[in-house]
């Protein structure tokens, strides 16, 4: 693994559209980029046994998650010719309709960005120690499980 600094991926609260716009806009000086691929996870108001999810409260084992994300980042950079990779995941209570995950990859030609983005989303969901507690309108809850 390289000596690169471990980057934080966690943000408190939802990822705002303005944050995303800003992140996109920051790439307009990188004129060797031809394609950006973005995935956004949004909290759904699922109905479970007649109750509606109004929010998800995210917690993480942050140290371990950041170390693991660093490994994943290095592996994806080694596998695909990417110009940039940015990952942001929410912690805390995220309401239905709000964005909780922002994965953003860029490359000269479109395919590496698209494939890396997809692979990152899969690995973030399966390998990072993050937990979502689905909070119902009546303040009961259940723990989300990724399937």
């Amino acid at each position: 693994m390289s000596e690169k600094k471990i980057k934080n991926i966690f943000v408190n609260g939802p990822v705002s559209p303005e944050f995303i716009a800003n992140s996109i806009g920051n790439h307009n000086t990188k004129t060797d980029i031809g394609g950006h691929s973005i995935f956004l996870g949004q909290v759904r108001n699922d109905e479970i046994d007649g109750k509606i999810v109004s929010a998800i409260a995210y917690t993480a084992f942050e140290d371990l998650a950041l170390t693991k994300m660093h490994e994943i980042r290095e592996e994806i950079f080694a596998k695909y010719p990417l110009s940039c990779m940015h990952i942001h995941h929410s912690l805390g209570v995220i309401g239905a309709g709000e964005i909780c995950l922002f994965v953003f990859t860029s490359s000269k030609h479109r395919k590496p960005a698209i494939e890396a983005c997809n692979e990152l989303v899969e690995r973030i969901k399966s390998e990072l120690p993050i937990w979502g507690k689905e909070i119902f309108a009546d303040e009961t809850h259940q723990w989300k499980e990724n399937i």
Binding site: I124, P129, W131, G132, E145, N146
Partner: protein, 76 residues
């Protein structure tokens, strides 16, 4: 010896973060012990992390080690 236990997700609802005075040699020993004192763990899928490394196979445990007990991940 003394080890530190930290727990996450739904497991944090019945196992508090705590110091545990216990004599176990390995993570497999510890699992057996934990499932005895916290029977809710039995039949649940969970992983351990030893000093912030995910336990893939049985590992030796030393005094003052920190053990995380983690239910299946559900980020994203």
């Amino acid at each position: 010896m003394e080890i530190e236990i930290i727990s996450f997700g739904k497991i944090s609802e019945f196992i508090n973060n705590q110091k545990l005075s216990i004599d176990v040699e390995s993570t497999d020993d510890l699992k057996t012990h934990l499932e005895k004192i916290f029977p809710q763990l039995v039949g649940m899928k969970y992983k351990l992390a030893l000093n912030k490394n995910i336990v893939q196979h049985n590992c030796a445990i030393k005094d003052n080690d920190s053990i995380a007990i983690m239910p299946p991940f559900s980020g994203g």
